[in-house]
């Protein structure tokens, strides 16, 4: 009886803890991708992140910003200083006021954040039929499932089932909450040509940009895991050491000596 209650207790404890994760599947089952950054030692695939950045630039950036990312951050995914300067210079960034008190546009610098397509939310909504294309910087942490969710969403467009009432200008996507999304299926086979020659299938494009968005959301992932390994190693030794110290200290008491 006691054992049964304990078992039920432990099971409940786990289900309560896991219940956050359970909500992940509420929008429909997600594709589980074997990301290079999964697991305790998983790190980013830099080539994939650069492809993902290319996808972002050529596809997503028409509507979505990554406002938390500065050009200088691209050094993390393997761009050289000169490449970053060249990329930054392709963008126009507002600066000012100048000596006449006017704001002016100048070429971007590595220290600038990547400018988004719209000046503000109102402008974004006006240009997108009232829908607001959200900023993508943190998207991989702002949804249950993270990069799996993004990949599943991008490749999850279907024809609406019989009898499903689709709103005007909306698209059917069972991965999205409510299954109606304003974004038109953004990705298709061979819609772009990868600089590194990787075949640009829709699945590949979707994976690459999902991985890129994981990096924009969690740029410290690699530092975190490598520091984590060292900390865990230290703590294991520390704990074992003090396990024996504790045993040694208590030996006379366990033997029945008075102290």
């Amino acid at each position: 009886m006691k054992k049964l209650i304990k078992t039920i207790g432990v099971a409940l404890a786990f289900s309560a803890f896991a219940s956050f994760g359970a909500q992940a599947s509420e929008g429909g089952a997600l594709k589980q991708v074997d990301w290079s950054f999964n697991g305790a030692f998983g790190q980013f695939d830099k080539a994939q992140l650069r492809r993902g950045f290319q996808v972002y630039r050529e596809v997503c950036s028409a509507c979505h910003s990554v406002r938390l990312i500065a050009f200088r951050n691209l050094a993390d995914i393997g761009f050289s200083e000169d490449e970053i300067k060249a990329i930054a210079a392709e963008y126009e960034v507002q600066d000012g006021p100048n000596d006449d008190g006017d704001m002016f546009m100048r070429p971007g610098r590595p220290s600038d954040r990547i400018p988004g397509p719209f000046a503000n939310e109102k402008q974004a909504r006006a240009a997108n039929n009232g829908a607001y294309p959200p900023d993508l910087s943190l998207m991989a942490k702002a949804r249950f499932g993270g990069p799996d969710y993004i990949h599943s969403l991008l490749t999850g467009y279907e024809d609406a089932p019989e009898g499903f009432e689709l709103g005007e200008g909306m698209n059917y996507n069972p991965v999205f909450a409510g299954a109606q999304i304003a974004m038109v299926a953004p990705i298709s086979d061979d819609m772009l040509e990868y600089a590194d020659g990787t075949p640009a299938t829709a699945d590949q494009i979707s994976r690459d940009v999902s991985a890129f968005l994981m990096w924009t959301a969690e740029p410290s992932l690699e530092a975190r895991k490598s520091l984590g390994f060292r900390v865990m190693l230290f703590l294991v030794i520390f704990t074992v050491l003090f396990y024996f110290i504790n045993k040694k200290v208590w030996k006379p008491v366990k033997r029945g000596e008075q102290v």
Binding site: P110, S111, F234, L241, I245
Partner: protein, 173 residues
């Protein structure tokens, strides 16, 4: 504890205690580093280290002050007399010996950090005994090249790294 004796126990226990103590100390020291390092300049601050200035509107004998890394930078379009005065000084007699050529890439443009090397006040321009800069806080006098001549400041006004992108634009930092 001290009364507890065991033939082989003492050395092992001592070793364990020393190892445990040492390990805990190393761990504490390592844990302290992030707490200290977080106060160092962050990545975005370090990235904002250069600024471009348009010099075309600064007449001879005029100065402007621009902000660079949160500090004032003096840019002075020096007059012929000032340049001559700065070049004529006997460098060996200075508290912080530097020639004017070392301090100004182009003699007509003197670009320096406007922070007194004594305790960080901003000196006033074209004042003091040497017709250069004068710090009102504790009375340091700088000459027309921004070199310390009199007063408690130990060093010349600092020269930031800068380059002329063209005749009318300078990039500081």
């Amino acid at each position: 504890m001290a009364t507890h004796t065991e033939a082989d126990g003492v050395t092992r226990r001592d070793f364990l205690y020393v190892a445990g103590g040492a390990f805990a100390a190393v761990g504490a020291a390592a844990a302290a580093w992030p707490l200290i390092d977080q106060m160092n300049p962050s990545a975005d601050v370090l990235a904002l280290s250069s600024t471009e200035v348009d010099l075309s509107n600064i007449e001879v004998g005029q100065s402007i002050t621009v902000m660079w890394r949160g500090k004032p930078v003096f840019i002075r379009h020096r007059t012929e007399e000032e340049i001559a005065e700065a070049a004529a000084v006997n460098v060996a007699s200075l508290p912080d010996p530097q020639t004017d050529a070392e301090r100004a890439v182009r003699p007509e443009w003197l670009i320096m950090v406007g922070v007194c090397t004594h305790l960080g006040c901003v000196p006033l321009g074209q004042r003091g005994d040497y017709n250069g800069w004068f710090c009102p806080c504790h009375g340091s006098h700088y000459d027309t090249s921004g070199r310390i001549r009199k007063g408690p400041a130990p060093l010349n006004l600092a020269i930031p790294t800068y380059e002329f992108l063209n005749d009318t634009t300078v990039k500081i930092g």
